[in-house]
């Protein structure tokens, strides 16, 4: 457990950095924020009043202290567009984004790892070339363009996908009672199988198009790591000892290749969380990304900052989990650094 606490402490500098950056961003508003919030009809007096009310007349360290204290109490301010506290808005929409990101990751891992392993066992074969082609294509297609192409192909042309408007067809189904906020989980908990089917159907296109971009790095690293593992001495020894090929491939080579793969997952999550904003926009998905895009367009600063902060905290947390998984896979990580 010693390692666990050390790693947990290691996130503190990241957290401080994240809060510092969001603080700087909230003070980098163009022009005078006091004048902005006082409105167009304000005079010098009312601007000074707003400035004092917002605490902008105090020194920066004092302002930072108050900012951090507000965050500690979950005060992210009120959204101008919804009129609700930003924290409530985010909590309401976050499960939808997490559900989408989770299924995208599931798709990417389920396709990329077998593909990378397969390509590594047959270098320069058709499979290897197909893997490379998929990796190059996946890395070159903008997430939002793939999303729109899928809508055109599978909804408009072939008509096999449901209407790409949100998480559930609200006319035909009612959303399950909210427990976790993720429709798939909630409908299982409520035992409403038709709703589960419908919400899964809505998820297919968005999560596949989001996962496409994550596919490339995972498949490339899996292939490279498997090639290296298969070429190493311990595999030669295992082969010479007459172990079954399947056991060599999966228990020996793949386990050793998983460490580089988990390390690239940090980057993959960065893509997924960023890309989910675009995909939510394409599919009318009511998650935090679509909320943030609306907020950015309507200069709803508190909402944007709350979103950036929430995503950064989530990302720090995910990186912590990735590190812990990496340690479970390869105990050597514990002794490094």
């Amino acid at each position: 457990m010693h390692f666990f606490w050390k790693r947990l402490l290691g996130t503190i500098p990241s957290l401080i950095g994240v809060v510092l950056v969001t603080f700087v961003l909230s003070h980098a508003l163009p022009g005078d924020p006091a004048a902005f919030f006082a409105g167009p009809a304000a005079n010098a007096e009312s601007i000074a009043e707003v400035r004092a009310k917002l605490g902008l007349d105090r020194s920066l360290p004092v302002q930072f202290f108050h900012y951090a204290d507000d965050l500690r109490r979950g005060q992210l301010g009120n959204s101008l567009t919804t009129g609700q506290p930003v924290l409530n808005d985010l909590i309401e929409r976050l499960p939808a984004s997490l559900e989408l990101t989770f299924f995208a990751l599931l798709f990417a891992v389920a396709v990329a790892i077998p593909l990378g392993v397969w390509a590594a066992t047959r270098p320069d074969s058709m499979v290897d070339h197909a893997c490379r082609a998929l990796v190059s294509i996946g890395a070159a297609f903008p997430t939002f363009f793939i999303g729109l192409l899928f809508v055109y192909l599978f909804y408009f042309l072939f008509d096999i996908a449901p209407q790409p408007l949100g998480r559930l067809n609200e006319i035909m189904y009612t959303a399950p009672p909210r427990i976790t906020g993720a429709y798939t989980v909630d409908s299982i908990l409520a035992g409403e199988w038709s709703v589960l089917r419908a919400s899964l159907a809505q998820l297919v296109l968005p999560s596949v198009s989001l996962g496409m971009f994550a596919l490339a790095p995972i498949a490339r690293i899996t292939r490279a790591a498997m090639l290296q593992a298969l070429g190493s001495d311990f595999i030669r020894t295992a082969r010479a000892s007459g172990l079954p090929a399947r056991k060599i491939l999966f228990s020996y080579a793949l386990r050793n290749a998983m460490l580089p793969v988990t390390n690239v997952l940090g980057m993959v999550f960065s893509f997924l969380l960023g890309g989910s904003v675009l995909i939510e926009q394409v599919y009318g998905w009511q998650g935090v990304g679509a909320y943030a895009v609306n907020a950015v367009i309507s200069s709803d600063y508190a909402a944007v900052q709350g979103f950036v902060l929430a995503m950064a905290l989530l990302y720090v947390l995910l990186n912590l989990v990735i590190d812990l998984i990496a340690t479970a896979i390869d105990p050597r990580v514990r002794f490094e650094s």
Partner: protein, 283 residues
């Protein structure tokens, strides 16, 4: 390496990989569009035509027209300047700043290294596209701020790369020799170490360029930076998106395809350059 040797090596590397050659040719065409776009384009990219709205691809309009009757081919061609321009400026700026910061961190170590590395770690603690959104939202919605945001989120890659490359060379013989010759820290760094790390850094620029294009286009797609009616690939895809459910595919497919083509070519070129300059890194 002598120039003749380099040319032979280049001919070998490009000959071996035809795709790199193809990507160079396509990129050259895109760069021509970026420079001479308004001269090549058959129509004025901003000219609306109420009688020719949403016309499918035809001889008069090879890529069709959009909802305002503007010629999509002309808009795609003219947009090359803005899209490539934003990406090139952003990539070069983060290259320059990242190289300077990384070289200082890698050469001097100590507290400059700690501060610079900590700042880069902090940038990397954000999902990068989300940070870019936050920066543009905070600084204001303009093309310049989209470029600044792209520079910031690309900085850590260049900085860390330069730091590692400088670090391994710091104690090498030729650097010791330069120091013995009475050179100060800055001349050693600028004249002896940096020229040696430029080739691998250039590979990094090229590999990074595609990503810079995707980021800038993604920001435009959600309505940041470029405003209508300016032709730009990301915003054109976004404008075309509303016509998908009525089947007017050409409104978003052609600008999107231009994006894919540009990113694909930069990625291939980056791979080709890496094989040429830095074969050991090939995976």
């Amino acid at each position: 390496m002598t120039f003749a040797g380099f040319a032979r090596n280049a001919a070998y590397a490009f000959g071996e990989n035809r795709l790199t050659l193809v990507s160079v040719v396509i990129l050259a065409a895109l760069v021509l569009c970026a420079i001479f776009g308004p001269l090549i384009a058959p129509y004025d990219p901003l000219m609306t035509d109420g009688t020719a709205r949403l016309v499918p691809p035809s001889a008069a309009h090879p890529f069709g027209t959009d909802a305002l009757g503007r010629d999509i081919l002309s808009r795609v061609i003219v947009a090359a300047r803005l899209d490539l321009g934003m990406a090139v400026i952003a990539a070069l700026l983060s290259f320059a700043v990242g190289l300077a910061l990384g070289a200082i961190a890698g050469y001097f170590g100590g507290w400059p290294d700690r501060i610079i590395s900590r700042v880069m770690d902090t940038i990397m603690a954000f999902p990068l596209f989300v940070l870019a959104m936050g920066i543009v939202a905070a600084l204001g919605n303009s093309v310049l701020n989209v470029i600044i945001a792209t520079v910031v989120i690309n900085l850590p890659f260049y900085c860390r790369f330069a730091r590692a490359e400088v670090n391994v060379r710091r104690e090498q013989g030729f650097v010791e020799a330069a120091r013995m010759g009475g050179n100060g820290a800055m001349p050693v760094l600028v004249n002896h170490i940096v020229p040696n790390i430029l080739p691998p850094m250039m590979v990094q620029v090229s590999l990074n360029m595609g990503w810079a294009i995707l980021n800038a286009a993604g920001l435009s797609f959600i309505g940041l930076g470029v405003r209508p009616p300016t032709p730009e690939w990301g915003i054109m895809v976004s404008e075309g998106a509303s016509f998908i459910i009525s089947g007017e595919w050409w409104t978003f497919v052609f600008p999107g395809a231009a994006l894919v083509l540009a990113v694909f070519c930069f990625n291939l070129l980056g791979d080709g350059l890496r094989d040429l300059l830095d074969p050991k890194r090939r995976v």
